[in-house]
Amino acid sequence: MTQDTFMGYVRPDGRVGIRNHVAIIPSCGCALRAAQMIAAAVDGAVLIDYHEGCGITDADMELAKGWLTAFGRHPNVIGSVVVGLGCEGLDPHDLGARVAEGWAPSETLVIQEQGGTRSTADKGIAFARQMVNAAKTMHREPCPIAALTIGLECGGSDATSGMAANPALGEFSDLMTAQAAKVILAETSELLGAEHVLRQRSASPEIADRLIATIDACEAFLKSTGEDFMGKQPSPGNVRGGITTVEEKALGDVRKGGTSPIVDVLAYGDPPTLPGLSFMDTPGNDLTSVVGLVAGGSHIVTFTTGRGNPMGNPIVPVIKITGNPQTYAKMTDDMDVNAGLAITGEKTLAEVGRDIYDLSLRVAEGQLTKAEALGHGEFMILRQGPIY
């Protein structure tokens, strides 16, 4: 097999980036407006739309700080401006210091120290412009596919997801893992009922046990609410699209991972360390799951959707793949790949998987996905505890 390459940015820490974004990171919802003003004013700056940072448990605060740090130090980010208010729980100076431990420049501005929203925004805009200018001398060079981390996600599923888009994405996953890329399967609550498949797919009995324990813990946590899954897993749109039960959804979902063994089980937002297919414990909620995949270092998220979900991410391109030919025709502005061709018989699943692979390399080299071109930058982070 030939070793494929793509043109990427090799960072001083040895990791490879595929975009040059400046991340504007608020440390709490009260700093969001100033952060928005900075991101809106600077071409090349993106808003990390974080709303919490205050009145949450210490455990949630620490985890959120880690995931925001992971965004600031993501290889697609070439500089960060952390914007704090000054009285919030999530200390912006500490967050800024953690981000600054990476290779890229980072500045921290605190609204109550700077004298308000306007002066904070003006200073942030100047910092962000300097960072964007510094990136202009960066150039791409050939990189192995093994440098890539790919997140697998599905959202707004219908019956075509399990029949076409997810198995085609499985073909893509196999092409990626054959090149020693890191690929991440996720969405724990969408795997109830597919445990026998996952056990078979695990690289060792120990990995299988960890994976099943993760699913069991998720099931117990969700059932502790006293509510049935119905209406959440599957969602009302899933049901209209023909999916009846969480088991049926799971058996379709698990096909995203292809046929290579599952080599590791990761906590939400943790980066994979081994080449091949890993599993990350994320919720089925798409925004939250994608943020976990990106905090874990995904360069690209490949996202299957039967009903048609348009969401993106601020720092990572999201490739939309629909298995529903009607959705592709109706939502062509949002959909990158028509896996419905495997339902109409115009292409095989393997051919669609190869199309996704070829597109992902073009995207890695700079081609914008539909979600990027539309400016989608949705952001929602996991929280387990209450808001005080």
Partner: protein
């Protein structure tokens, strides 16, 4: 002309890849005669291809996708009205 997909030989349902009206044939293998739809069934939805007893497992992808809540005749639409998750209930 094929208008449904059977994803595994052990499956007791097929999935429509075109809308079907009651009385029309559901065909997943052009070499077989298929079954007659007893209900109108939309694209993406399931049709029983063998008789399924109440309380027994409904099979798709070669695995259980839940339990029949009533007897399901060949050709019936299989969905939330006659199929229930075993895994997703808060109690039991």
């Amino acid at each position: 002309m094929r208008n449904a997909l059977k994803l595994h030989p052990a499956d007791t349902v097929v999935t429509m890849i075109a809308d079907v009206s009651a009385g029309e044939q559901v065909i997943w293998d052009e070499g077989l005669s298929g079954v007659e739809a007893l209900d109108a069934v939309s694209f993406g939805h399931k049709v029983a291809v063998v008789a399924i007893e109440a309380g027994s497992r409904v099979m798709k992808y070669g695995a259980s996708i839940g339990m029949a809540t009533e007897p399901i005749a060949v050709g019936r639409h299989v969905h939330v009205h006659n199929l229930k998750s075993v895994r997703g209930a808060a109690k039991g």
